[in-house]
Symmetry: C2
Amino acid sequence: MAEKKTAKRNYLNRQQRRQQLLEAAATIVDEQGWPGLTMISLAERAEVSRQLVYQHFPAIDELLLETIKHLFGSLYQDSQADFNQQPNNIEQAVQAQHRHYHEDLSAGRVRALWTILFTPYNADEPIAKAARMIRRISADVPAAAIPGLVGEGLIDSQRRHIGFMIDMLFWGSYSLVSDGEMDKDSALELLLWMLKRFKSGDKAGLPPVSNKPAS
Amino acid sequence: MAEKKTAKRNYLNRQQRRQQLLEAAATIVDEQGWPGLTMISLAERAEVSRQLVYQHFPAIDELLLETIKHLFGSLYQDSQADFNQQPNNIEQAVQAQHRHYHEDLSAGRVRALWTILFTPYNADEPIAKAARMIRRISADVPAAAIPGLVGEGLIDSQRRHIGFMIDMLFWGSYSLVSDGEMDKDSALELLLWMLKRFKSGDKAGLPPVSNKPAS
């Protein structure tokens, strides 16, 4: 069996090998979280030499970044497309995102994203650099829909900063659900109410009653 | 020197010993973060036997919870007092909190709070249980000021959930500063603008320009 695998490995070209390594890295992160992902654990999991891992990812920084892109690249692209397509309907994009995170993604995958997104910035650690990068991307995702929420005349950085704050609200609602404080429909209602309120202030009236415990 | 310390230790009563252990635990967390805090590392740092640590904290869950209370108890009480004293002036309480986190607390202490606040919920891990508890407390802190922000007629859980979302915005602004996206005055402006907007909607006008990089 081991021989067969070795034989098979020889047929992977560089691009296929890279994909195989990134898949293995993703599995490690899903199972053990980010601290589990190292050059050594990846070599072991993918059943290749450490040298081969280093050929593809010269340093842990690059391995982390490429694993993040592999795990969340298409997720962010989809979300960004949602926000870009209906810049005046941020509610719909947020709703799609909510459904996606609660229903389509595995809890382990969401936890992996959450963990890296909320790793505090500390220049010494590779994971913290990756965290800062993914926070920047997160700020960009809803940026196109921000003028529809608060009006025109914003400069780029304002859209990005407000986008980031909206993303924080999204994760707040996710957190309330995963902590068992609310069920996921109530959390979506709360999030949409906050956006409505943010758009039109006290004209938005009172928030929905949402003290149902999670089922 | 070691003998002198041993001699001195014998004079600590139960309450003093507990304080000494909690101080040592706080130092470990400030230096190494939460993963560094274990029964063994605490015994070593405090120069006591593991048995003695277990006498005060029968399990890691309790050690974590008590260390959190020791580290952040008075911080939360101060913040809560700020929000309680001026329930109709959430801006002022938020401003005090901003100053406190950016100027009075060490970066390591804020990072310790951040890390535990954003540890995702996963029932298996003691740190995750502690994280859920501290998120509950965080939701309570601004709860008294929520009616002043969005109106009367809210039930308790609504105030707490909205309080938690406001706390997320606070941490969003902190994060923008620590990532070097904004200086801390601009981040406070953004946060206050978001609250104003949340209070009065599009009547709040455009947000302040705040793309100054952190100094």
